[in-house]
């Protein structure tokens, strides 16, 4: 079977969509995570409950929201409440997955969306935490989605906006974060990464189609752990691409 052409955004969306099972809850922001959840709902996870931070939960994502509070985030939803209600649900342990993005990520999955350079005189002032810190603190398992290069995958992030495993095993719990929570996967255009069970350092789990493990290592600014067996992540299928292009983002606002 020949592989249909796809762009890097489509690869990220299809790869992330496959990670989420049915009948669970996921905190979703705008952009790629939302497309991934919408695609997952149309394939393996029809009863995946999308939770948006300003209060929409269980929306039917017929059209893609363009903002985390807009009406599509509670279109035919199961509930439309407010930010306190949904983040408190996460704080009580109800939200399994959370999607995150960032300008920088380090070996422990700490994410920066706040500043490049020092905080008091930043080289680049980025938007800030938004719901990122809440998602990274409260959800059981977080999935980060990023483009993969050495500017983004760095030894030390300039600013820990959203906690990953902080400085290693036990440090989340020591800081007071809910036990058993933390980074689960990182989806990039080059690889699918997880975390080493003992060291909590990022670990190469699978490479994207046509990418070698060496290429992943070259584009990562810190030492990666290697899984015992490094899988090949299958390319987006014709069916995934058809649903993504014809149904999920038929207006081509994102892809």
């Amino acid at each position: 079977m020949t592989t249909p052409p796809y762009n890097p955004t489509e690869l990220l969306i299809c790869s992330a969509a496959r990670l989420v099972p049915d009948s669970t809850t996921a905190f979703v922001g705008t952009g790629i995570p939302m497309l991934a959840v919408s695609l997952a709902q149309r394939r393996q996870a029809p009863n995946l409950i999308a939770v948006f931070e300003f209060g929409g939960a269980g929306a039917i994502l017929e059209d893609l929201p363009r903002a985390v509070g807009e009406r599509r985030t509670f279109h035919r939803a199961l509930s439309a409440t407010g930010i306190c209600d949904v983040v408190e649900a996460a704080q009580r342990g109800f939200i399994e997955y959370g999607f995150l993005g960032g300008a920088q990520i380090d070996a422990y999955g700490n994410l920066n969306t706040t500043v490049i350079g020092p905080h008091d005189r930043p080289k680049v002032r980025l938007p800030g935490s938004g719901g990122g810190n809440d998602v990274g603190s409260q959800c059981w398992r977080t999935i980060a989605i990023l483009r993969h290069d050495r500017q983004r995958f760095v030894e030390k992030v300039d600013f820990i906006t959203t906690p990953g495993y902080l400085i290693g095993p036990g440090s989340r719990e020591a800081a007071g974060l809910p036990p058993g929570t933390g980074p689960y996967r990182v989806v990039t255009n080059l690889a699918i990464l997880g975390y080493h069970a003992e060291s909590k350092r990022m670990m190469l789990v699978a490479t994207q189609p046509g990418v070698s493990a060496d290429q992943v290592i070259e584009n990562t600014g810190f030492e990666l752990r290697m899984a015992d067996v490094i899988e090949q992540n299958p390319a987006p299928t014709e069916e995934e691409l058809r649903i993504l292009r014809d149904e999920v983002d038929r207006d081509r606002f994102y892809i």
């Binding site: 509070g69 009406r71 002032r125 800030g128 810190n133 409260q138 600013f159 007071g176």
Partner: protein, 325 residues
């Protein structure tokens, strides 16, 4: 209670819950007609140096007609609770913001805010104190409860905590580390709702964002509403009152008050005009031209709507599912 760690950020609006009680005691409890124009509401209730908050945000149920009036009147040195998109972007673009409690200031699908970058990287915004999104909402919740802080489990272990004014303490009940967020009592809150009566009893359709918490955390509260309704409409379904009259100081009738943002079930976002702002905001000169045209170029909200034109307003209304063109 043992303090384990303190954020280094300044508390740019220290909570005084007793003063808040005294002030709330003085608010009129009678049913008083509070209708007024944007100009009058901003003139009376928003002052230079005030700490203000807006809800929900820039492209969604946002008090844009009030924000444009603040820019028209040039209220300056503002301190803001920074969860924002277009509304705070325009205040930043107009150079009116001095300090921020910031959680997210960006343009969502259109990326980072050019105005935020210019103002912060140049040092014109002197202070950015970091918080999580729920962190700010919970700070309003503490103020709404009338207590000086609230314990939460976000922000711990991060630089978001380090550069906030939060404290990590040993919980006196469990012994575990917990994050305490200081109550955030606004000088002025600005909220746009679907409907209100002339006294300020207000209903919101769809998600409520953080309206309930922020309204109750405001020393002065200005509501704008798509529609002013008879009190009988409120009395028919009192369970729908999200904001009760006694916390409200001004009620401004503002149809399309969230434009170019959306209003659930009433009108959709005006993508073309949002893009026009995104483009304009890229340089100081074009930001100024946009504000000249759409803010200073219209003397009030009615003039703004005239400038936008009936055709476009009809179009964003017709985009709402089920309404048709």
């Amino acid at each position: 209670m043992r303090v384990i760690r303190s954020g280094v950020g300044p508390l740019i609006q220290p909570p005084d819950v007793n003063a808040f009680r005294d002030l709330n005691r003085q608010k009129p409890k009678g049913l008083v007609d509070k209708r007024m124009t944007e100009a009058e509401a901003v003139e009376r209730f928003v002052h230079d140096g005030d700490y203000i908050g807006t809800e929900l945000y820039g492209t969604v149920r946002c008090p844009m007609s009030l924000v444009r009036e603040i820019i028209r009147q040039g209220r300056k040195d503002l301190r803001v609770a920074g969860q924002g998109v277009l509304e705070l972007d325009m205040l930043l673009g107009a150079g009116l913001v001095r300090a921020m409690d910031i959680t997210y200031m960006g343009l969502e699908v259109y990326g980072v805010s050019h105005c935020l970058r210019r103002e912060v990287e140049s040092g014109r915004v002197r202070v950015c104190v970091e918080w999580s999104n729920a962190g700010i909402a919970w700070r309003f919740k503490a103020a709404a409860m009338g207590v000086p802080f609230i314990p939460v489990r976000s922000m711990l272990g991060s630089d978001t905590f380090e550069y906030s004014a939060a404290k990590a303490v040993e919980c006196p009940f469990t012994g575990e580390t917990i994050c305490l967020l200081p109550a955030l009592i606004l000088d002025v809150g600005l909220i746009h709702v679907h409907r209100a009566d002339m006294y300020g009893n207000a209903q919101i359709d769809g998600i409520t964002g953080f309206a309930a918490e922020m309204a109750r955390a405001s020393k002065r509260l200005i509501l704008s509403a798509e529609e002013i309704v008879p009190t009988d409409v409120i009395r028919r379904q009192p369970d729908r009152t999200a904001i009760p009259y006694y916390i409200v100081d001004a009620v401004v009738e503002a149809p399309f008050g969230s434009h170019p943002g959306e209003m659930a079930y009433l009108y959709e976002r005006d993508e073309e005009l949002i893009r026009e702002w995104v483009e304009a905001s890229k340089t100081e000169a074009t930001t100024k031209s946009y504000l000249e045209k759409y803010v200073h170029g219209a003397r009030d909200h009615a003039a703004y709507l005239k400038l936008i034109g009936d055709e476009r307003l009809r179009a964003v209304r017709a985009m709402v599912p089920g309404r048709g063109a």
